[in-house]
Symmetry: C2
Subunit: 472 residues, 2 copies
């Protein structure tokens, strides 16, 4: 690969310990980028069993790295699927806090391969970006943490706080075995707080604290009428059309003002404070019309699109089907129709309670002449939110601002990160989401990349952050 | 094949001419069934080009038959598709009426073949039914007419009226070339009225006059939102869901009382008279719950299922799709959603006007944030209705009743037969639908069959009918 000669512009402003670490990162920058490239060269695609050996190679890379920087109890833990890399640093002493650092070394598949401008597993720097599958999601961000740990260990021989490292290989396929492990080895993974770098900033070089994620739940509705498709001429007028019945049911669940009209749906929603609305208004907004091609933005009556996407629950029909889908016309009354629905939930809402409310509504409005069945999706999660004024968050924001030279914005996100929900549910500890990705990183798509700006300033942020947390 | 020994129980009650014809049919019954079986043994499947030779063989069978019974101008007319068999009988003289007899010699495919209890092209009699593809639809019914013509020609050497025979080979694939031919050779096919036997009775041995058919028209609605599927977490709350938008549009077009709520939709509908409602109430009703498996019958508020299926317009969603249809969950906002709709129309309604009303309604209720497109289906047809008191209908009913020994019922049907609409549109003549099929014939399905009762009593009906028409 080609390494751009980029000088690391680090403002020294920490204590002696952090200054040394930052100097180390600057001095070793070329080697660190090269080492990250070695990591990115391993095609650790978790969804395809053809890459099983590469999955192990990626895990081994991490094990070797962590051993090299003198972490303790380094293990490649077997699971029913891909291994979890575990390690500890306990040198900061009993009075220092312990952080659980979570990341993942598995990556998404690369298809369609012909849309890549360079080999996804031969990292290449172009225009200040490192192009490779996993550069942003999540190997690049994982590596930044390791490099910062290294910088401290190789300069001071110690870190400002105790660390538990947990890097899994199944994030892209549901983290099922991690969930089992977090529950069954609760003692081992226990910490005072958690840090995850598997998300992004709202814009390049715009420090961003993600302090809330939505939860989710889902149902599938199937409306069945006749036991086979019927001739619409012979039976139209005697038989309820299942698709139309499903239309009536669904149209009764969210109105044209994007307000969910299911009894009790909003009952437990934490109202947005003035302060939060102000904070959201300060976040640079995505131009949805340009990025998605829609004619205009539409959001819940009384709320901006920013507010709705970040902090108000949603009800989406993800898919619907019934009857004839081919060319032209087939004059049938179809036997059945199905809709798949997921809701994104906000703090206060309980996924199981919401599922029950949805089912109750559907059965209440189900018209006669058809049979209506509701299947509750098994996967669901509560929303996550940490107080933006929590000292661990405030310190993260200060560290970001110091490294990037720009005020940090605070966002909540409409997406869900299951591991966040699980860590909160199992350990009940604050979780700090320090993301360094950018909207242009093309996660899960061809030409994934990560800005070297994020790499450099992100490591700087982490150095500041560990110092600040230690000062607690 | 095996021929059941069934005695033909014909009540002689016509004039000398018809008595001779009836006696002939009784005497030659075994040979006629055998000849019909020869016709049924030809696999004249119109939709599959592999059967092209068989299509010609079936047409040739008819040509030979018609020549044998001294019909004139017998032609196998080439078309852009399968041939039309044409023939004339002009021996009844100028003062006698001329009937256009329409039928089709092509048949539906036989799949799934493993569900047939006997070879679809090796006719077999079991329990008084003739099993073979096409036995009811329409070769069996076509053959009854030919046999009656033969009976008259071989006994009296003449028929009571003049005849134009038109038997096409593309009914099961849309009759496109017939339509072209009826228009371009208007003189050739011109007649005083038309007779078609390609339908059924409401129950076995229940004489049934079909005096009205619905028309139809259709539209396809496509709602487009984002130009690609979006992550429901990142965009839910800023982007209108196209499936939900389509649900709102469709739910606004027909209400839960099965009333179509499109402005102007019912404006031109001929109201049902008391007499017609009485007539419909007299028709033995299908038990829809048993035959279709629905929980209960549902029809337009204020109308019975009989009335709605026979004589009130319908609005059916034939198919709808959008987004994810696989197993489990995919948390997307889909890019688009589509619904295919057809309406069955009643006398008075104009298909193009209805399409325009539907489109106007859709555009009126289309919510902001999405693009809504309406595609008008090209194929459409007006409803057809003949006065049940028309002498040609009254005589048909009398002939039926005489042959079957049971009062004739009068029905209208929710289906559409394009050729009926075309003959009416092009020639503006009465069309008499003399169907002898039964609800158990399994048209288009495995084990198609035709009751020999219908064969025998149907021919008897035709003999009476030609006599009665001649008496005019």
């Amino acid at each position: 690969m080609y390494y751009a000669k980029i000088t690391l512009d680090i403002e020294f402003g920490g204590n002696d310990m952090s200054e040394k670490a930052l100097a180390y990162l600057q001095e070793h920058r070329e080697r660190l980028v090269s080492k990250l490239s070695d990591f990115l060269s391993i095609p650790s695609v978790s969804t395809d069993s053809a890459y099983k050996e590469d999955i192990h190679n990626a895990a081994d890379f991490l094990v070797t790295y962590l051993k090299d920087i003198q972490f303790e109890n380094v293990e490649k833990q077997d699971t029913a699927g891909h291994p979890i890399v575990y390690a500890e640093y306990n040198g900061a002493g009993l009075e220092a806090p312990t952080v659980l650092f979570y990341g993942h070394y598995d990556v998404q598949p690369v298809d369609p391969i012909d849309q890549w401008d360079s080999d996804p597993f031969k990292p290449e720097i172009r225009d200040g970006r490192l192009y490779a599958r996993g550069s942003s999601d999540d190997k690049g961000q994982v590596f930044m943490h390791l490099a910062v740990f290294e910088a401290y260990m190789k300069t001071e021989g110690k870190l400002p706080l105790n660390i538990k490292v947990c890097i899994e290989g199944e994030e892209e396929i549901g983290s099922e075995n991690l969930y089992e492990r977090l529950q069954s080895k609760k003692e081992q993974f226990q910490a005072d707080f958690a840090v995850i770098s598997d998300s992004g900033m709202v814009a390049k070089n715009q420090p961003t604290i993600l302090y809330g994620l939505k939860g989710f739940t889902g149902i599938e509705i199937t409306v069945t009428g006749p036991d086979h498709d019927l001739h619409s001429g012979m039976y139209g007028g005697a038989v309820r059309n299942p698709i139309m019945a499903l239309n009536h049911i669904l149209a009764s669940m969210k109105n044209i003002d994007e307000v969910i009209t299911v009894d009790g749906f909003y009952d437990d929603v934490e109202p947005l404070t003035k302060e939060e609305r102000k904070r959201m208004a300060d976040v640079p907004s995505e131009d949805y019309v340009t990025s998605t091609g829609i004619p205009e933005t539409v959001s819940e009556k009384g709320y901006t699109a920013q507010e709705h996407t970040m902090a108000r629950p949603t009800f989406e029909i993800n898919g619907m089907y019934g009857g004839y889908q081919g060319e032209g016309t087939k004059t049938i009354i179809p036997s059945s129709a199905t809709a798949k629905i997921t809701c994104r939930l906000v703090p206060g809402q309980d996924p199981e309670k919401i599922q029950a409310l949805l089912e109750k509504h559907v059965q209440k409005v189900a018209p006669k002449g058809v049979t209506v069945k509701v299947k509750k999706e098994k996967l669901s999660a509560k929303a996550y939110k940490v107080e933006p004024n929590h000292p661990l968050i405030t310190k993260a924001a200060e560290s970001y601002t110091k490294a990037f030279g720009k005020e940090t914005v605070f966002i909540r996100m409409g997406g869900s990160i299951p591991v966040v929900e699980w860590i909160e549910a199992i350990y009940d500890i604050p979780i700090v989401l320090l993301g360094f990705g950018t909207p242009d990183d093309r996660l899960h798509s061809p030409n994934e990349s990560f800005p070297l700006d994020s790499f450099d300033k992100g490591m700087e942020t982490l150095v500041y952050y560990w110092e600040k947390v230690r000062e607690n």
